[in-house]
């Protein structure tokens, strides 16, 4: 018999139990169910799977036992404001910092040599960092928000607040890298926040890119999860 507690998984995730604990609980229950079935079969029980179901417990009890334990709740349930409002900007700050450190390290180690100009790939790399920061960052952070929300079967309120916030922040925030083209020249890395007439347009573009992906994720999840 197929392990019959698929709906339990959805119920636990919707109730805010951490997906890590839910995954392991399901695996352990499935193993336990197999053991009980084997035991009933060996004892000559006419319906081993019925006996196993009876012994493993009612789905309501199995769900409640997990939901009642606050230690097993996901951060998305304990503090959604932290996950969706503080988490993405913090991640953005870390990515900015790492990008700057990596670029400085690369320029210092393999930058322009005496009498030579900067290699073409270095200029391209700086361009890629700039492009990534402007166009790909909102998508990346938006996808992370969407995946975290879907994994935990969250209602759309907090994920949408997070998505709007991150679209706004990534539209205001900028990181621009100019590598030195020859030895002795200065490169420049600028990081900051600014608003201009293009900001509203950028916010709109970012929202247009991230929101449909989030709603597509929601649509693709199993029907009973919604």
């Amino acid at each position: 018999m197929v392990f019959p507690f698929e709906r339990l998984r959805e119920r636990l995730l919707t109730a805010g139990v951490s997906s890590r604990h839910v995954r392991r609980y399901m695996a352990e229950l499935a193993d336990h169910f197999d053991d009980l079935e084997a035991e009933a079969r060996a004892a000559g029980h006419p319906k081993p799977s019925v006996s196993a179901l009876e012994r493993i417990g009612r789905p309501d009890d199995l769900a409640q036992a997990m939901i009642d334990r606050p230690q097993l709740k996901a951060w998305t349930a304990r503090a959604p404001w932290a996950v969706f409002l503080l988490g993405p900007p913090l991640l953005l700050a870390v990515i900015d910092l790492v990008s700057i450190l990596v670029m400085v390290l690369i320029v210092k180690t393999v930058g322009p040599q005496p009498g030579q100009i900067a290699p073409g790939w270095l200029v391209s790399l700086a361009g890629a960092v700039n492009f990534f920061h402007v166009y790909a960052m909102p998508l990346l952070l938006g996808q992370i928000i969407a995946i975290v929300a879907m994994r935990q079967r969250m209602r759309p309120l907090w994920p949408l607040i997070g998505l709007v916030a991150i679209c706004l922040i990534t539209s205001l925030n900028y990181l621009h890298v100019d590598v030195p083209l020859a030895q002795g020249q200065h490169g420049e890395i600028s990081l900051g926040a600014s608003a201009g007439r293009w900001t509203v347009f950028r916010v709109a573009i970012n929202l247009a890119l991230t929101l449909p992906l989030y709603f597509a994720w929601r649509r693709w999840q199993p029907v009973f999860a919604r």
Binding site: A27, L53, E54, R55, D61, A65, M66, D68, R69
Partner: protein
């Protein structure tokens, strides 16, 4: 679906005590633990078998247990083991349990022999 009768709510905390005790000797997995509880209590204590796992997860989350996946006879299972913190927690729970059972016993003995004020 019919369900086996398990022990009532005053048993809350007992599964934790029993699991910590059983895991003092060996690392064990869920089904093994349920079997051991039934065997060692002469089936006087019957746990809803599936609900043992939330107790184990919570104990692990509190640092009283650690777990690892181990494959035995071709089957992968999650084995639990007691930590230092778990031993301490067991000692505390055991002490509390002894105090309560002694107190209840003395009340019951008093009731048998008649209370005096």
């Amino acid at each position: 679906m019919p369900s086996r009768e398990t022990n009532p709510s005053f048993m809350s905390g007992v599964p934790e005590l029993l699991l910590l005790r059983l895991l003092q000797d060996n690392e064990m997995y869920g089904y093994e633990l349920v079997q051991a509880v039934q065997e060692q209590t002469g089936s006087a204590i019957t746990l809803g078998e599936g609900v043992i796992y939330p107790v184990l997860h919570a104990l692990e989350r509190d640092g009283a247990l650690t777990s690892r996946r181990k494959t035995v006879n071709g089957r992968s299972r999650v084995y639990y083991r007691l930590t230092e913190l778990g031993s301490q927690r067991f000692a505390d729970l055991k002490g509390n349990w002894s105090r309560i059972t002694n107190a209840v016993s003395s009340v019951l003995k008093g009731a048998e022999h008649g209370f005096s004020v």
